[in-house]
């Protein structure tokens, strides 16, 4: 079985990797590239813990083959903070205690970031529907939704000032 040589962009960096044809993007990220921020929950696209952004759209990395990543632009949780500087969503998740065990958090942050890029002023209903594919067994979702709404408000203010 021959391996695929894939050239792609991850969090703005050019990345090359070799993968087996049946390996998922999640397998590649975690096991070949050491990027373990994206989590495997269900492995069937139900839980959203492996959410990454591919060409501006969020997808479950467990439902995409590594070989499909050729030429795509991928962003993961590892690209969210700028060095020590947390993204407003990350900061608001800490402030609101919007996580407990934390397994779902990377996926939710990546998904919420994509929402706010598309819709800087979402209603609570829009946040809940957008994140319907991200399951959390700890928080009951309320703090997550509040953290996202609060981050959105802060980011809107910042954009206005800039």
């Amino acid at each position: 079985m021959s391996k695929h040589h894939v050239t792609t962009t991850i969090n703005g960096d050019d990345v090359e990797f070799l993968c087996d044809p049946q390996e998922t993007l999640l397998d590649v990220l975690r096991d070949r590239l050491g990027m373990t921020g994206s989590k495997e929950g269900c492995g069937t696209g139900d839980c959203g813990a492996c959410t990454v952004n591919v060409d501006g759209k969020i997808v479950c990395a467990c439902l995409m083959l590594g070989a499909e990543a050729e030429g795509r632009a991928i962003s993961t949780i590892e690209g969210m903070a700028q060095g020590e500087l947390l993204h407003p969503l990350q900061r608001k998740f800490l402030e609101h205690a919007a996580l407990q065990c934390g397994i779902c958090t990377p996926g939710i942050l990546v998904a919420a970031k994509a929402l706010l890029e598309e819709n800087p002023d979402p209603s609570e209903t829009e946040v809940r529907y957008w994140l319907a594919g991200n399951l959390c067994r700890c928080t009951g979702y309320d703090k997550i939704v509040r953290a996202v709404m609060d981050a959105a408000e802060e980011m809107r203010g910042r954009n206005y000032a800039a």
Binding site: Q22, C60, L63, A67, E68, A111, A114, L115, G133
Partner: protein, 286 residues
Amino acid sequence: MRYEAPTTVEDAVKLLAAEQGMAKVLAGGTDLLVAIRSGRIEPDLVVDLKRIEEMTGIEPEDGGFRIGAAVPSAEMGAHANLVAMWPGVVESAGLIGSTQIQSRATVAGNLCNASPAADSVPALAAARAKASIVGPNGRRDVPVEDVPAGPGKTSLEKGEFVASILLPKQAARGGDAYLRFIPRTEMDIAVVGVGVNLTLDESASISEARVVLGAVGPRVIVAEEAAEALVGTSGDEAAMKAFSEAVSAACAPIDDKRGTREYRIEVAGVLAKRAVAIAMDRAKGR
């Protein structure tokens, strides 16, 4: 398993036709990858359609639209002209899975996965959509409802695949709708699905109707007698009662964990009336 990502339809056909073992087509992968990872299937070849240009776009054709087999549901929802002409079809595709799934899942894949509960199939069939199938013997267009042959089975022959879905032009006073019943508000599989497409005449009575039921039989059911019960009426109470009964009579569901046979039959009749009301409003609004 080999993975190939051809850039032309011809190359995809050749790859699939030449494979001696199991060959699978990959569009969004939201069903295929789950099946592969669970070990339910072990394909020898996977042919990814997403690098073939004609499969990645929504193009106007004959007053309607041709939707490439690799177009994800989210792109259908973002296509203003498609939404304006076929809101029911777009909504049916938009009901499938989460935001993440919407970025990948395709209606062609939904059709070829051949689940009796596929949301987009009743809506597409109600709209008289055709599947444009390519294969070693060339291209053929078939009504979408003829593609699923039973749960998990299609009528496609070896080496064939669906290249695009062709939606016709909606009538001047036409409207479509799709409703499904699930026990929660999001992220579930249809207990019953109903696709309706109506045309009204100048006096706002129904001149043409097509009603297609999902999840109440091994394949979608084109409920012709139910549609006939609507034609020539204004959707008045008596007509809707007869219609609802004809819908229930057309159902042939199974009992399973999502609902009993009796429940599905009852719900189908109620849901179909609601879908007709939406389709009529849309037809009047044109």
